[in-house]
């Protein structure tokens, strides 16, 4: 299709009602424009190139202050019947002002406006939980998980909006590793204390010291300025207070775990009591119960208070037989120590021999 020919032949502006927005399922929108008969006859039915489409029909975001249009949105153009149809590549954002232009780029165009309505504000997004949940943490705690009740917007500003405060309310500086790690829903954020200030021997720690010191009180504060996906502030500060113990620089010793074996014939849970807090995601991912035949036992696990216990209830009743609780060597405690090695391994000190990653029990 010769775009120039199309534009040149677009001599008569269309009535405004020939240009409109059409709502589709799942909140999608497309823009439809009725082609003049002479153009319709020349336009091929089916997909239209972006260049040809943009020469006639453009959907733009308007600047909220100047009302100037931004560049045409990316999307798919299609001749359907006597209409030119544009479907934007991404969903239009609630609360914004969009304008469709139908006509040559260098002449007056018909316009139609669309303002996706913000859904009725429901419960504002809030922080629902922070892991580790314990109120006493080692001074070398490595990371926090922040769970929100709804999807968040994210962006580098979060590293200013999430703060560690000392017991006098002073904001600690340069605390975070600037990696924004969200889960797929945008509701869970993993934020690391900068490992360079935790690891032994690194210049960063030698110059600036650790972020947290032992036997002190701290607050993790998630500021109300953090933005939810729709652009609204979460509103209220969330504060998690905790105190610190000396740094934990030893591997996770599985021999220290206490297993409470259930009775055979029932479905009461196996309970493991853990002497120190284990990363809750590690507990969810890296523990398995294996039966005497070597098969993984199906069931449901629960992480207990302060992430210092883990229980597992099987779908089928326990047999009067040997079982094993197996632990993946990647499991971490809240300071990044694993069953195979501490976070920092002192090569000059004698290391304990490798430990078994299995604990046996007999219901």
């Amino acid at each position: 299709m010769n775009t120039l020919l199309l534009v040149a032949s677009f001599l008569v502006l269309q009535p405004a009602d020939e240009l409109r927005f059409r709502k589709l399922e799942k909140g999608q929108v497309e823009v439809t424009a009725v082609l003049p008969k002479d153009l319709a006859a020349k336009f091929p039915v089916g997909l239209v190139s972006v260049n040809a489409g943009e020469a006639l029909l453009r959907l733009c975001l308007l600047d909220p202050k100047s009302k100037k249009p931004g560049p045409p949105m990316l999307g798919r153009y299609e001749r359907r019947g006597n209409e030119l149809v544009f479907r934007p590549r991404v969903a239009l954002e609630a609360g914004r002002h969009y304008r469709a232009y139908f006509g040559p780029t260098d002449a007056a165009s018909n316009v139609a406006d669309y303002r996706p309505i913000r859904p009725t504000p429901g419960e504002p997004v809030r922080v629902v939980k922070v892991y580790p949940t314990a109120e006493v943490l080692p001074a070398n705690v490595l990371k926090f998980y922040i769970y929100f009740s709804g999807p968040m917007l994210g962006g580098q500003d979060i590293f200013e909006q999430i703060q560690l405060l000392d017991d006098k309310g002073n904001v600690l500086e340069s605390t975070w590793l600037l990696d924004e790690i969200w889960d797929e829903t945008g509701q869970v954020l993993i934020i690391y204390i900068h490992p360079g200030r935790i690891k032994w021997g690194l210049v960063l720690r030698e110059i600036f010291g650790p972020v947290l010191y032992e036997h002190r009180q701290y607050s993790l504060v998630i500021r109300g300025e953090m933005l939810a996906l729709g652009g609204d502030k979460i509103g209220k500060d969330y504060i998690k207070k905790f105190s610190t113990t000396p740094e934990d620089r030893v591997r996770v010793e599985l021999s220290d775990w206490k297993l409470q074996a259930p009775k055979p014939g029932g479905r009461a849970p196996l309970v493991a009591q853990l002497p120190k807090s284990i990363d809750h995601k590690s507990l969810e991912r890296f523990l398995s119960v294996i039966d005497a035949k070597g098969q993984k036992v199906a069931g449901a696990s629960v992480v207990g208070k302060d992430e210092k216990s883990w229980s597992f209830a099987p779908n089928d009743a326990w047999q009067n037989a040997e079982y094993r609780l197996t632990v993946n060597g990647r499991m971490e405690d809240v300071a990044g120590n694993t069953p195979t090695r501490p976070f920092d391994l002192d090569l000059t000190s004698k290391q304990p021999p490798p430990q078994s990653l299995e604990l046996q029990f007999h219901p």
Binding site: L61, L74, V90, G154, S174, L178, E184, H194, R330
Partner: protein, 363 residues
Amino acid sequence: MLRWTLCLAAAVCMLAPVAASADTGNPGLKSIQALAFGPDGLLIIGDGAGAQIVSVETGDKTATQWTKSQPGDIKEQLAGRLGTNANGINILKLAVNPASQTAYFAVRKLDGKQDLILTVNGQGKVNEFSLENVNYTRYTLPAGKTLLTDIAWADGQILVAAQAGETFKSTIFTINPKQPKSVAVVNTDTYHVAHGKWETNAPLRTVMPYFDQGKKYLVGAFTCTPIVKYPIDDLKADSRVKGTSVIELGNGNTPLDMFTYEKDGKTYILMNTIRMFHKKSPVGPSQYWTAKVDYTILQETEKINEDALRRVGKDVNKPLTERAVVAADYHGVVHLDRLDKSRALVVRSDDKGGFTLEVLPLP
């Protein structure tokens, strides 16, 4: 004076065959976390959320001419094509297709957490590189869902670095596309050794290949900016492979992108970083600064590991060597890639929320 430097060991914990499949259609990405180019416009995409690497034949081999810096704010321009403003997107990665000099941006639309690839040509025209109907090959990562930091093409091999997520592991994947049915992926855990005394995990931030006397290496940079090389061919299942630290560029910096180039008969590495302690101890006017490093330092065999060269000591503005210097014209560079033999394409922050796309002569 502290002389903490790093040498590295890689424990190969997995050498697993992965499914590689060639197909036409939409590869169905769940994320776009890393971008790189192979020969003839072969685009390599890291999809950590989808636990896959996908190579796509772009067919993009027509050269575009870049003559000057682009007017306006590149983030606004990319965002405008997606119907939002600059705050509505994150630019994740920039890769220049060497076959055409077209810029490929991995962009995340924050509303919906949707990742797309947008292209910019020398005239500043923004389009989408659509993945709707492409010829592609998929390499499934056996480690499952992961967070990827960088990808590099190494003369027929694909090198992939992963960052910390729920665990603070360090993972490198190597993929050989020439053996699609028995592709070996090596999953490594990497340990820092500080002053020969401590080992800790450390995820790689950016990677590139290095060839020396017929041997192929992966060169990587870590947070706090040591540059380290690994002999790729030495990676064997169930073995430990020592990496070699050749220089540290200074503490408190996180590497972002790097590439090599030749100028006046010498070869250099150009690497931009973000500085954690910019307010307290700035390297330049922006928290983003760039280092120009003598490439021959990768040949170093004596001053390595704990004896490796250091760009600076405690005073970040008092150079200890001329083999690694600050590229003053690159202050503020957030993303960079080589455009051609003499120029780089960069995204530069004005530190006030604005971002420009600029063509810079290589320093």
